[in-house]
Symmetry: C2
Subunit: 515 residues, 2 copies
């Protein structure tokens, strides 16, 4: 604060620091020396008229190519937020810490936060007033058993309030969401055409893979364009009653994206944050009726029925109080769904089901029909228990396939024919018996090493599923790759652990609640 009138020339520094604003000062800049700014200090940059400002974390440059001693640099996002031109005059001062950090400290001390606290924190997060370190502190303080369910509700609503909220102008807007973790689980690409063919509105947006071998958006992309702007999306949904698009374009619950940008590298994955993240996105997307799928299995995200039930209650508590019609189903997550793992291989499975091909994976077909049936029962005219039969009828009469073709045509068909990777290796059983276990995590790792989801044809094609008899030397699955180096990496990993367990007797069936 010694030289408040010291002026600097603004410079755009072409570095993308991803959702964290960074300011750069040269080490020999007089104000840097005079102020004794701490490294990593939060600073505030003001226009000389003091009418525009931005907060940033300070980095120190020592290279005149990057920054002269009379310049102040801003990373790309910070530069855009300040909204001034390069060369304009700015001044810098210590930032006043965002007031909501007091609430974060209270949370760290074990206190209970209320709606105003969460609103304050989320608003400051989305205004870029939090550094990544501060977001990390908030997330850890709120992780595990750190949040009561009324706090999760408050967090959800605070996240919704940080962004836009879509309105589809209809009383019933259906959606589904799976908490993830099961490779090949592409039911969405079957549920959407079935539900839309029935006439129910299902404007589905999905994510790309983050840590998995493929997200629904990656798999759908092998068939059609998925990157659609909101106007285009609305038009398609109005015509077809559904879509299968990538969800990254709209500004829905942006605070959630910012928290995720920290949760992901930290591998933080607490139930409360998951519930708030999923439901805030759905509420902001204008969803009114939502089906949540919680797969349970030893290598799924949720390992046991008790944890699944606890998570279900959390979803129900927050959903009910947020005006959502929410149903939660707990499904079998003991093994991958379908045969293919990876964009092209999964799309193949989906098309086989839509074509009613006898070779279609029956588990994928059955799960999709059951989920679609439950969503159809959101329709007041559908009698309880009749959804499944309606869904099956829509699939078997080819109306689901026709709807899928219409959606693909509306989104723009992908004209590049995509095929499974040409480098193929069969992984063989080392003993005879029955398949008693398939490790979801290991199969996902092998598929990723083979190149999925970047190389669309890469992945794993399962030839044996749980309970299948196998003989020594028989193929368990095939690895597909497009590049030799990936191909080798994937084979090396499969040689270390093929992900399969073979037993002398078939595995005992496990019981899940009927859908």
């Amino acid at each position: 604060m010694n030289i408040p009138d010291f002026h600097l020339r603004l410079r755009r520094v072409g570095i993308d620091t991803y959702k964290e604003n960074v300011a750069y000062l040269h080490r020999d800049c007089p104000i840097y020396r005079a102020e004794g700014f701490q490294a990593l200090a939060k600073v505030q940059i003001n226009s000389t008229a003091m009418d525009q400002q931005v907060l940033a974390v300070l980095n120190v440059a020592s290279d005149e190519r990057i920054m002269a001693t009379d310049e102040l640099g801003l990373s790309e996002q910070a530069f855009e937020q300040l909204g001034l031109a390069e060369g304009e005059t700015v001044c810098i001062s210590h930032a006043i810490p965002p007031e909501s950090l007091n609430a974060v400290h209270r949370k760290i001390a074990g206190e209970h936060l209320d709606g105003a606290d969460f609103t304050g924190i989320m608003q400051d997060v989305v205004d870029n007033r939090y550094s990544r370190m501060e977001m990390s502190a908030f997330l850890v303080a709120c992780s595990e058993n750190g949040m009561e369910r009324d706090e999760i509700l408050a967090l959800t609503q605070a996240m919704v309030d940080t962004g836009e909220r879509l309105d589809w102008g209809e009383p019933l807007v259906a959606d589904k969401h799976c908490i993830g973790g099961i490779p090949g689980n592409r039911t969405t690409m079957l549920v959407v055409p079935i539900v839309a063919a029935h006439g129910m509105l299902i404007p589905k947006t999905s994510s790309r893979a983050i840590t998995s071998p493929s997200g629904t958006a990656d798999t759908m992309e092998t068939l059609a364009h998925v990157q659609l702007n909101l106007a285009r999306l609305r038009k398609i949904v109005r015509h077809e009653r559904g879509c299968l698009a990538w969800g990254g374009t709209a500004r829905l619950a942006p605070a959630d994206d910012m928290l995720i940008s920290v949760e992901r590298p930290l591998a933080l994955d607490s139930p409360g944050q998951m519930v708030a993240s999923i439901l805030s996105k759905k509420i902001a997307a204008g969803c009114t009726h939502l089906l949540i799928d919680i797969p349970v299995g030893p290598s799924a995200k949720v390992h046991g029925m008790n944890d699944a039930l606890r998570l279900r209650k959390m979803f129900e508590y927050v959903g009910d109080r947020s005006g959502l019609n929410l149903e939660v189903v707990i499904t079998n997550g003991e093994q991958p769904i379908g045969r293919g793992i990876g964009p092209v291989l999964e799309a193949r499975d989906v098309i086989l089901v839509l074509e009613n091909d006898p070779e279609a994976p029956s588990d994928l077909r059955e799960k999709a029909l059951r989920l679609a049936g439950r969503i159809l029962e959101f329709d007041p005219d559908v009698r309880g228990g009749q959804g499944y039969a309606i869904a099956r009828d829509i699939l078997e009469t080819g109306r689901a396939m026709k709807k899928m073709q219409a959606i693909i045509a509306a989104q723009g068909m992908n004209k590049t024919a995509m095929k499974p990777g040409v480098l193929v290796k069969e992984i063989l059983a080392s003993e005879s018996g029955y398949v008693t276990g398939i490790d979801n995590l290991q199969m996902a790792r092998i598929a990723r090493l083979a190149g999925a989801p970047m190389d669309k044809g890469a992945g794993v094609d399962l030839l044996k599923k749980l309970g299948d008899p196998v003989s020594e030397g028989e193929a368990l699955y095939r690895i597909h790759a497009e590049f030799p180096s990936d191909f080798e990496f994937a084979q090396d990993l499969a040689a270390k652990g093929d992900g399969y367990t073979i037993g002398a007797v078939p595995p005992a069936p496990r019981y899940f609640p009927a859908l």
Copy 2:
């Protein structure tokens, strides 16, 4: 992992990201596009011979001035750690997360960590395998009531093991430490000459101010050089039995510095981390006998006697099990110590005490004598209860002043005569009565705004202390500054709140354990 053989030219990017390694790739670099690296991903950079490597967080550049598309940039610290020359060939891959992050996740989940866990975490921290976000996660998980005392002990020892450990070759190496928070509390500059004059070894290193108006190193610097290398320090200590140097040069418990670089911007200040931080530094510095000062008061770091006792037990538990001879004293932290707040003003108080000047602040003199007395009793030849009298004798006979002069001469006298800031404003009492409260935090804020510690002469000079009678319009304290803008800032803050409470009757004396 798609193009593992893709080579990049190494470039040094002149940006200091302060204890976090950052790697820069151009947005159009083929491997960036092919890999689909997540923003903020941790990456590993290898020399082509794969014999040198460094971990870093990825930032994306879009400006060819910073980074060409076939280059890989490293921030300064990362560049030095990799140890290759600019232009050499390197390759980049996804980093394998440090194994010790599993322990951090267990801690977040509420588990108890053991010594091996803390050793793993601290070693990975000091090897720059943790991002700032990950350090933040660790610190929050361990904050507040997150650590049992055996975990604090394990953390302390793990931090010591990350760096060097000094050995002074003597069985009694004394030190003192105050947990801070009390402006003007410069007892160290009196304790060291008294203890050294007695002949006890006290190689004192202190910190500069971080959030306070002055650290002992800042105040000492107005009299002598404090930035000394270890060889010089050893020589001075051998001759004089003591020193008053800045502690930032040796590589003692470097993991602690890295944690502090995250704790500070987060304003995390948990008792467990404090104990581990202080004791690890002292153990690494070769201290054998340590006196800890915990001031208690409404605006001190510790507000009540119960918290102080809890903290004392924590220090004792860890100290005893680390082989330290440790004593903890709980002192009166209701108001600033002495009159001056700010480097020059505090040095003036210290010199007045050393000169046995009747104008010397009696509270500073008394506290310093009591602390020095307790340290002198570490000497087996000093009878319990006799330390204070010995210390007073050393001070009153001028031996303390003589020792201080010898230390100043050995460290190198500061020949620039330093004076209190020439801009002076008296802050007046708005009513008559007795001083019943002085807010440590507000006085520190005013002194900092006035320019302390950067402007050595800036600060606050207290004219009234607790219990003093005042008349309306009488001066409570003076603000000193060197620059008009700071002078105004400080006056504005004092106008908003002068930090003094005036009551109709004198405050009741509070009782603290006798030293």
